[in-house]
Symmetry: C2
């Protein structure tokens, strides 16, 4: 049993923390909102700041929305860094900037603490089911120590490389997911407008080179018109922003990622930012005056 | 055993015809180039025009490069239509325009002959291995009659709908394949430039929502730099041209398909039209001054 700090107990963090409790670990909890009752009832101790969490924990997990939040959690006056002693491990499971991550890791390492970036994919469903994909950057030694905790929260757990590589992999994931959604949107809209049944088209394509998880899951959403999230457009906009900021800083040309962000902006402009990202198909549907629909 | 006509005995047609011969069928063969010796040695009869093929066959299969070639094979003065009697089935396995296909089918049907459009995916490897994906448009009755022949050439065989729907599905397939290649290109180039190992990134992504056949096969090609075809860029340009012509005629907006065609034009402009379509990644690599490379 380990003493584990958990900061950020929102839609993702709360079920992840609950899975750690079920694994028998003692949790030290902090959130800017009230800590969920269920986590306290299960034995979690409420802390009033990151420093207080860090003073009591062997491993401190952070799961907050974006880069500035991680910065504040770690380096505010009463932040995690203030309470860290040598050997405690900081694990950031938020999805944030790979470049900022390298800087955060350097600053935490300077205190004698290993740092892992370990963003996840799989959403609320994966967080509850402990089936998250976890993409990790950091040292093998720190990874090995935290791995039993990761295994209580996820299934596909990969140490990709050094600090920042976990976040880089998450950004790569979000690039492919966005572009594959647009690919399926264009293909099914073309087929539907040409008079074919998108249900049959999707089925025929699943056997060949067009096969993807997105065709399987999001293709079905487009046909059945189930745009309740899932993963919201506004969150994917945040992730593509990380990709495009990174591309600018690194000097990489990503024309389709830039265009996909533009199309997501068009979704948001039409009141769809809270819908599932499969609703990206709505933009070209609106422009084409036709919806993907089963015959 | 059926009497089967086969017109178009190129890279794809020759091995497909050979597989029909292995299934015990009598073939009547025509090509504008000399018919391959092996097919004649295996009992195939050489015919001098489409009309001669049609006069002797119960089912006439066409496998030629593009829409104008199918038009000529079917409707030239000595074309297939001249030799057709009621009940013979015409099966076009070329990848051509869905809109032209509907017109061709109407003209063939007017002669009392059913028509199937049945384009394939899987390339030369799939043609030889009899593992092609076959996407069919036409009547259930004609499909049921030709199905034993399809099963000698392919594995995933789907009757998608009426005439044209097979070609529409093939176009949809090529849209998704092109856009998924660009997706993998942008993601792996970003990751590589950010300092992560694309081998590990690809591996981590295969378990989640970014998973696709293209990430698996073409992602590996990008990392290993194996750009020998496979499926050539110039052929994919032809297919995206069908997509964009169709989109214009149908009134469908497909911004990423248009952009992918543009990027393939850039490949061709840089001498890469004979390379595998996974070389699409070369465009953004050139623009970014960095190659996707294993660490």
């Amino acid at each position: 049993m380990a003493k584990v700090g958990f900061i950020g107990l929102g839609i993702m963090g709360a079920p992840m923390a609950a899975n750690l409790q079920r694994g028998g670990h003692q949790l030290f909890l902090h959130d800017r909102n009230p800590v969920p009752d269920a986590l306290v009832a299960a034995g979690g101790k409420v802390c009033h700041c990151g420093e207080e969490v860090a003073r009591q924990s062997e491993i401190v997990i952070v799961m907050v929305p974006d880069t500035p939040h991680v910065d504040a959690v770690l380096f505010a006056d009463d932040g995690v860094a203030k309470g860290l002693g040598a050997g405690q491990i900081v694990v950031d499971m938020s999805s944030i900037s790979p470049l900022a991550t390298k800087e955060f890791a350097t600053r935490i390492n300077a205190l004698g603490s290993p740092y892992l970036d370990a963003p996840v994919s799989g959403g609320e469903v994966g967080a509850k089911a402990a089936s998250l994909t976890i993409m990790v950057g950091g040292s093998q030694e720190a990874f090995d120590k935290v791995k039993p905790l990761f295994e209580l929260m996820g299934k596909n757990i990969t140490l990709v490389g050094g600090n920042g590589d976990g976040q880089t992999t998450k950004v790569a994931n979000q690039i492919i997911v966005a572009l594959n959604i647009q690919a399926v949107s264009e293909a099914l809209l073309f087929a539907s407008k040409a008079g074919a049944d998108p249900v049959k088209v999707r089925q025929a394509l699943m056997g060949g080179f067009a096969a993807s998880r997105i065709l399987e899951v999001h293709g079905e959403r487009m046909i059945k018109r189930t745009f309740d999230p899932g993963f919201r457009i506004e969150l994917h906009q945040k992730d593509l922003n990380l990709a495009l900021q990174g591309a600018k800083a690194l000097g990489v040309s990503m024309p389709h990622t830039a265009s996909a962000q533009e199309l997501m902006n068009a979704c948001a402009a039409n009141g769809m930012s809270k819908l599932d990202h499969s609703a990206l198909c709505r933009v070209i549907e609106l422009l084409s005056g036709h919806e993907i629909a089963s015959k």
